[in-house]
């Protein structure tokens, strides 16, 4: 996979690059396609995930079309957001909160910002884990999901419990960082290497950008 600082730089650059354009070309799709190829072993899982996220984008575009009656704009919105979302999801696929921390810190961001981002992403991670765990709890305690009022009541409790746990978790996480003497440093075995994948991805982005400049200056 691609190294942390390059991942962050490219996802930011590419998102802006696509979001600010009014015309898209086939060449813009090469980056997400290459990333898909890099992740080809998990294609099924990724596709399912992307489908879920992008269904929402599709509905959004459809609404724009229905209300504005402007096919071009709604198509452009759809294409742009699909490109950005697909690329971002693929770049950060299978990564943890640590990866982003590592990326920011090797890009030379100040310690404070890196630790804040670690704290924030770690909270999101813990929340997702908490949700996952509550699903297990429900299963272990013989809960059968139905659509009656009783089930909704259980969902309500669960929402309360998860919210509470997340608050408590953030408290404990702060305590743990303190108890363990956190000063913004985490030693990681993750090496920031620059291999052929990094070269390929970087060249694609640069080519895309040069192509855009060439079209634009004509």
């Amino acid at each position: 996979m691609i190294n942390p600082p390059l991942s962050i730089s490219i996802s930011i650059f590419y998102s802006f690059f696509i979001a600010l354009r009014s015309e898209l070309y086939i060449i813009d799709a090469i980056l997400p396609l290459t990333l898909l190829y890099i992740h080809r072993r998990e294609l099924k899982k990724i596709a399912l995930h992307l489908l879920k996220v992008e269904l929402f984008l599709f509905i959004l575009a459809l609404l724009v079309y229905l209300f504005e009656n402007d096919l071009d704009t709604s198509l452009l919105i759809l294409q742009r957001s699909i490109l950005i979302v697909t690329t971002t999801v693929l770049i950060f696929w299978g990564r943890d909160s640590f990866f982003i921390y590592k990326g920011l810190s090797s890009l030379g961001f100040p310690t404070k910002i890196c630790s804040m981002s670690l704290f924030a992403t770690k909270m999101i991670e813990l929340s997702l884990k908490e949700l996952e765990r509550s699903k297990e709890t429900l299963r272990a305690r013989c809960f059968k999901p139905k659509t009656d009022i009783k089930s909704y009541k259980v969902y309500g409790w669960l929402f309360g419990v998860v919210t509470f746990k997340i608050l408590q978790r953030s408290n404990v996480l702060a305590q743990s960082l303190k108890a363990r003497g956190f000063r913004g440093e985490i030693a990681s075995k993750l090496e920031v290497g620059f291999g052929y994948k990094e070269y390929v991805v970087l060249s694609i982005v640069l080519l895309d950008f040069i192509f855009f400049l060439w079209v634009y200056s004509r």
Binding site: K129, L173, A179, R180, G181, R183, I186, A187
Partner: protein, 217 residues
């Protein structure tokens, strides 16, 4: 007698109801103290107060004869205080075992390679070097416990605060931890339900009650 920790007339209230009152305890240099008590008697709370993680309602804590007026005062002693959380999951920060064990070392200014080397040596001491590259959240209950302990012991802190260290450990692990505790010079406060475990560590025993700390032996 030189003391590492002095607890003077400590009380803690939750919504105006006292969890414990007028606790006093001196732990001298190299001394080991065990605290037992019923569930919910406030052992974890007491330990967190001593570690400077939460604030007492009244009373005083001294670390190396210096009064801790507020929680920030504890920061300059961070490297000297090792605190083991009751729930190991609460303690982990870095993704893999080696990185987590090295975590506090690096934050105390050790360079990365040196920290990893020390962390590895600690894993070997506890006979868990095979866990080095595992993701901490995916360890078994007992493995989590011993890894969490490794992250604290590697610091060789002058003050060691352990909340239920023997929880979930198998006999072999327990014995190794006991041997380490008996061989180190840290002033140690151990909270535990397991009398068998405490008996094998040379220490004074106290029971925490609402009225205060009672010396058992």
């Amino acid at each position: 007698m030189s003391c590492s920790v002095n607890i003077i007339d400590l009380s803690y209230k939750i919504e105006d109801i006292a969890l414990f009152e007028n606790i006093s305890l001196d732990v001298s240099h190299k001394e080991k103290v065990a605290i037992v008590g019923a569930n919910g008697s406030g052992k974890t709370t007491l330990l967190k107060i001593i570690a400077g993680l939460i604030k007492q309602s009244s009373g005083e804590i001294k670390i190396f004869h210096e009064s801790m007026k507020n929680l920030n005062d504890f920061d300059k002693h961070r490297g000297d205080i090792g605190y083991l959380f009751q729930d190991s999951d609460d303690q982990f920060i870095a993704p893999t075992v080696l990185e987590d064990v090295a975590f506090s070392l690096v934050n105390m200014g050790l360079d990365k390679e040196e920290a990893f080397q020390k962390a590895r040596a600690q894993l070997v001491k506890l006979e868990i070097e095979n866990l080095e590259d595992k993701i901490v959240y995916r360890l078994s209950g007992g493995e989590k416990r011993i890894v969490a302990l490794a992250g604290i012991l590697v610091l060789e802190p002058k003050i060691l605060l352990l909340d239920e260290p023997s929880n979930a450990l198998d006999d072999g692990c327990k014995k190794r931890v006991q041997n380490i505790l008996n061989s180190i010079d840290s002033s140690t406060i151990i909270v535990s339900h397991e009398l068998d475990f405490i008996k094998k560590v040379e220490c004074k025993e106290y029971e925490l009650t609402q009225k205060g700390l009672l010396l058992i032996s």
